[in-house]
């Protein structure tokens, strides 16, 4: 029930699904299965599941408004949808907004991306995903590791430092697999230090918990970087010279000095004592520090700039910000630098590789802030200072950025490569634009969220800002929201303040269709047409493991790759229909068949290399059919004998990983930036566009720099002392986002867990406020938005913070089990410019609150 997509065996007796177990032989889960996975049974047979298409009869939309659902037939539903889409196409196809699912990323491609392309709209986003987990974290992961995220090399790592993430306790990425690998690593003796305001499940498994203030990770990490670089000298100079742009010479304008002929950035060749293109074979050694003059322009290697820049981040300065003592920062920095064993090597399968058994790992916790781009960059930088990136023991790219081909066919082949500046370019990337090189900012932007006039963001919330209409006018966007198709996401609960999203954005649509398996808050408040999807046990899912979502299920380190096809174990019940079949039928109805195939071709080939062309294989008159498409893809990748039929029989295919794939950094001549020169360039371009259309202060452009910095969240500068608690949320291993609360097994266990459905408050703080265990309290942000919940007292949280688990607190009538359970956090999240990272445009999800007892003032 999450994108970990563990391989499972489902037992069916007399047409009834009666049991789910893991498949021990599959590296995708090792036969283990989590509480959610087992509980999928209860989702399949939930009497609250949608069984028929529903049409809204009450034209009024809103939270708490009864939609007046009317049951209609599929024929009617398809007619309505087709006609709405036809109208939209005539007005302006860009008025179609597609919203995808973070739960089923692989299917999102076929369902949402391909259809969107075929239809001709640039507009889409992915539930709350991206905004909460993606913009900063994924993009920085992409720039530095060609991957969605990073994870320790559990098999060799000796010291992992986690910054607000779950990697190894049953939540987070590759939840199950990482849980086992982390347990193995612990048993082997890997030490874990967790920076987290809350003694999270992950932190509770660690050797050391460092209670850091939320949103201040960059300050701490930059102080550690400063110590490594300027105090302890514990940096991997060789790595910095050859694997980063640390030696690239930067001029007074902040940009590289470039070779006149080739345009390649210059470095200072210390043997010849002159400048030289970075890729010249003459460069045997180069300067990382110092000051030089090239053509009478003063310049310095970018590492020198970083070194100087870091000086202001003293541990004492950081301590004042992040609430962690300077001595702790010193100790951990020293430990990290020493344990990195810079210069050491290890022999793996006959290959000698650098051995750096330390890893700095981050994800959603540290990224969920105003400063998220730089937070993530600062955290990942620690790995690149000591050279522990994608080498044995270090921080590994999650999933397969490099795959040298399925042994049988050589297909499914892709690797990382350098761009003209020598920097790492990912090839296997799930988002529409690569993390690097940056796309050219679009003038004027075409998308409603203005994303295309920026260069890092994947999504933005600008379309839901209060002043969106004004912005659309200023940027001369000629069309407006028209039809929305939403797939497996509960936007109302996952994005931010639901009222803001609904009033500013969703209500502007003429028509919203949603594929879901329940009628959730989103359907009830905003959708006009609800289409009952088959759940994952009732339908085919495309590749659940490769290419891109592999990040979320593959084990770390050497072992096996796996490709599995999720297959229906029973026919969809009642009138449920797999969304992909509906989308394909819709494409036919709208005359988009060829465009759809074209989009699918583009996607499939980009995602795994190769030159598959559906049109060559298929008969021109052949109707679109998902099983057929899958069959074609499988055969193309794995050979004619391994079509869908083979997968129907075997379920999954596995083959060994190679050293060159896992520890790819040593084998590929690619560099990563310690100085993000291109941000300066791109930032200037975006800014120019904004100024041109009369919105000069669209975002704070001063953050578009080349070096990481710490900037406070709005919460850090809250003046009113009443708002004395910093609130944030975390992921429970028992739940996937908001949807699993409707599962009665998980719900029952959650009720019995002291954390999952409660507000976690420090015991002393509670005593001070006269709050007792189990009290019902309100959290209220400075703008008056409120969330209510029961308090659980714990010593495992900073006294100045409150934590909330998961995404609970449902109010939808269609979710009777989930209703009124737990705490709904997102009501507290403001969706506006002040709470948006100026660089990545990700959502700031921490908030200052005051806490008072229910019934009190």
């Amino acid at each position: 029930m999450c994108y970990g997509t563990c391989t499972i065996d489902v037992r069916v007796e007399d047409g009834v699904v009666v049991g789910i177990e893991g498949v021990p032989d599959s590296p995708q889960g090792y036969g283990n299965i989590c509480a959610k996975g087992v509980s999928a049974l209860m989702m399949l047979y939930d009497p609250s599941r949608l069984n028929y298409p529903l049409l809204r009869t009450n034209p009024e939309k809103g939270i708490g408004v009864d939609p007046g659902w009317k049951r209609i037939s599929w024929d009617e539903a398809m007619d309505v949808l087709t006609s709405k889409l036809k109208e939209c196409m005539q007005r302006d196809p860009r008025g179609l907004y597609t919203v995808g699912s973070p739960t089923f990323p692989a299917e999102r491609a076929f369902n949402v991306l391909c259809f969107r392309k075929a239809f001709g709209t640039p507009n889409y986003y992915t539930g709350g995903g991206g905004l909460h987990c993606g913009n900063g974290a994924h993009m920085i992961g992409g720039i530095y590791h060609a991957s969605w995220s990073v994870i320790p090399d559990f098999k060799h790592c000796n010291l992992a430092v986690y910054w607000g993430c779950s990697k190894g306790h049953g939540a987070g990425h590759a939840a199950n697999v990482a849980a086992k690998q982390a347990a193995d690593a612990k048993a082997r003796g890997m030490r874990l230090i967790v920076f987290d305001p809350f003694l999270s499940t992950q932190a509770s498994t660690a050797e050391e918990w460092v209670p850091i203030k939320a949103g201040t990770d960059a300050a701490a990490a930059l102080a550690m970087a400063n110590l490594l670089v300027n105090d302890y000298g514990l940096v991997d100079r060789e790595y910095l010279k050859w694997k980063t742009n640390g030696a690239y010479l930067v001029g007074p304008d902040g940009l590289y000095l470039r070779d006149k002929k080739s345009g390649a950035p210059l470095v200072w060749n210390t043997n010849a004592n002159k400048q030289e293109p970075f890729n010249s074979i003459n460069v045997r050694d180069c300067a990382l520090t110092g000051e030089f003059e090239v053509d009478r322009v003063k310049c310095t290697p970018s590492f020198q700039l970083l070194k100087d820049h870091l000086k202001k981040y003293t541990p004492e300065h950081a301590s004042g910000i992040c609430g962690v003592s300077a001595s702790t920062l010193r100790r951990i920095a020293k430990d990290f630098g020493e344990e990195a064993r810079i210069g050491s090597t290890i022999n793996i399968e006959g290959k000698t590789l650098p051995y750096r058994p330390v890893a700095s790992i981050y994800f959603r916790g540290s990224q969920g802030h105003y400063n998220q781009a730089w937070d993530c960059m600062s955290l990942v930088l620690l790995n690149h200072l000591v050279g522990s990136a994608d080498v044995p023991g270090g921080a590994l790219a999650f999933g397969p950025p490099v795959h040298l081909g399925y042994p049988g066919t050589g297909r499914l082949k892709y690797s990382v490569e350098p761009d003209k500046d020598g920097l790492l370019v990912a090839r296997n990337w799930p988002y529409a634009h690569l993390p690097y090189p940056p796309p050219e900012p679009k003038d004027p932007p075409e998308r409603l969220d203005l994303r295309d006039m920026f260069y890092i963001p994947t999504y933005t919330t600008i379309m839901a800002w209060e002043n969106n209409e004004e912005l659309w006018q200023k940027f001369k966007i000629p069309y407006r929201p028209d039809v929305m198709i939403s797939f497996a996401t509960n936007q109302l609960m996952s994005v931010g303040n639901p009222k803001t999203l609904l009033e500013n954005f969703l209500k502007k649509f003429r028509f919203i269709a949603s594929f879901n398996i329940y009628s959730t808050e989103f359907e009830e408040a905003a959708a006009d047409l609800v289409l009952p999807d088959a759940c994952f046990l009732e339908r085919y899912s495309s590749a659940t493991t490769f290419p891109t979502v592999g990040v979320s299920c593959h084990a770390t380190g050497l072992g096996e790759w796996v490709w599995s096809i999720r297959q229906p174990v029973i026919k969809p019940m009642a009138e449920r229909r797999a969304m992909i079949d509906v989308i394909l039928e819709l494409s036919e109805r709208l005359g988009l068949r060829n465009k759809y195939l074209e989009a699918a071709r583009e996607w499939v080939n980009r995602a795994y290399g190769g030159d598959l062309d559906f049109k060559k294989v298929m008969d021109p008159k052949e109707k679109l059919n998902f099983e057929r498409l899958l069959d074609i893809i499988m055969k193309d990748r794995f050979g004619q004998d391994k079509g869908l039929d083979w997968f129907k029989e075997h379920g999954y295919l596995k083959w060994p990983k190679r050293v060159e794939e896992v520890y790819w950094r040593a084998f590929n001549d690619v560099r990563v930036p310690v100085y993000l020169e291109w941000i300066v360039r791109s930032g200037r371009k975006s800014r120019a566009i904004a100024e041109k259309y009369g919105v000069p202060d669209l975002v704070d452009w001063s953050a578009h720099n080349a070096l990481p910095e710490w900037r406070p969240c709005p919460t850090h500068s809250e003046k009113n002392p009443e708002y004395d608690l910093e609130a944030f949320y975390w992921r429970s291993a028992l739940h996937t986002y908001s949807m699993t609360m409707q599962n009665p097994w998980l719900n029952e266990v959650s009720q019995n867990d002291p954390y999952t459905y409660t507000i976690q408050l420090n015991t002393d703080t509670a005593n001070r406020k006269g709050v007792k265990e189990g009290d019902m309290v309100w959290l209220e942000n400075p703008k008056g938005s409120k969330a209510k919940g029961r308090v659980h007292l714990t010593d495992g949280i900073r006294p100045d913070h409150v934590a909330i688990a998961a995404n609970a607190g449902h109010w939808g009538k269609g979710l009777p089990i989930a209703k009124d359970k737990g705490v709904f956090f997102n009501e507290l999240i403001e969706v506006d410019k002040e709470h948006t990272c100026p660089v990545s445009l990700g959502q700031d999800i921490c908030v200052k609150v005051k806490l008072y007892k229910d019934g009190g003032a």
Binding site: Q751, N752, D753, P754, Y757, D820, K821
Partner: protein
Amino acid sequence: MSVLQYEDFKPGARAQMEWGFGGRRRWRDGALLMALFLGGIGAGQFVVSTWLIDSTTSALVGLLIVGVGKTVAHLVYLGQPWRFYRLFLRPKTSWVSRGLIFMVVFVMFGAAYLAPDLGFDWVSWTTDSTLGEIIWLAAFASACLVMVYDGFVLASCKSITAWATALMPPLFFTYAVAGGTAMTFLTLIATGAETIEESTLTDIDAILLSAMFALLVIYIVNLLASTATARESLRKLTTTKVAIAFIGLAIIAGLLVPLMLTYYHEHAATGTLATVLLAASAILELSGDLSVRHSILRAGLHAPVFSEGP
């Protein structure tokens, strides 16, 4: 509103939830408390009525309370009442088996003993005959065992520190005698028996009440000095809703007030008033008896599974 965390998921001491109106609050669960209560007072009444008072009616009431009341209560409580006969199968190890066997033995001998006085004069003994005496002794002994066995049942639960004490059997026994005395008294008043041996009864009563009070004090001190779980039990007995039953009903209404009344009735102006006062005191005592059993069941906390803190 949502259900709070189930007791068994809690990290600290866990309340036992199966006996009496525990955490799960199924109404039928309350029948067990009634079974213990009725067993105690019924057997007690038989003992008091036959030994000290010699009232056949009262003895019969006691016998019926056990034979009918307790039996029905047990059956109501059982998840599978039709299999009740299986309860007798393991007297070697199980106090419940033993207790129920005592109960059957008691009912048999009790009935046998009373039979001649109840018109079954075809039996070959009379209450005063040697055989009758022997039968009485058997009934008496088994009644005492019925009165005391539930103390052993509770005391056999090792992890429930508030129960696992040698005080349990004497406490339950004393309460059974006291309850029996009160019942005898009430029965006599109700049947308008002439020969109310007030002084005998009040004397026993005064002694019993003092003994009960002493036992409870020892019990509390014992809890205080014992494990953290026991102290938690005590906290439950004295500061939560259970305190209404324990302090309010069991100690104040069931012990102190009757003591006062017993003492005061001697100075009562009229005999009727004295009788009324004594009746009131008996009723209060009975409610105290019930409350003590209830409180002790409710105060039954299992030591934490993981470790017992200091």
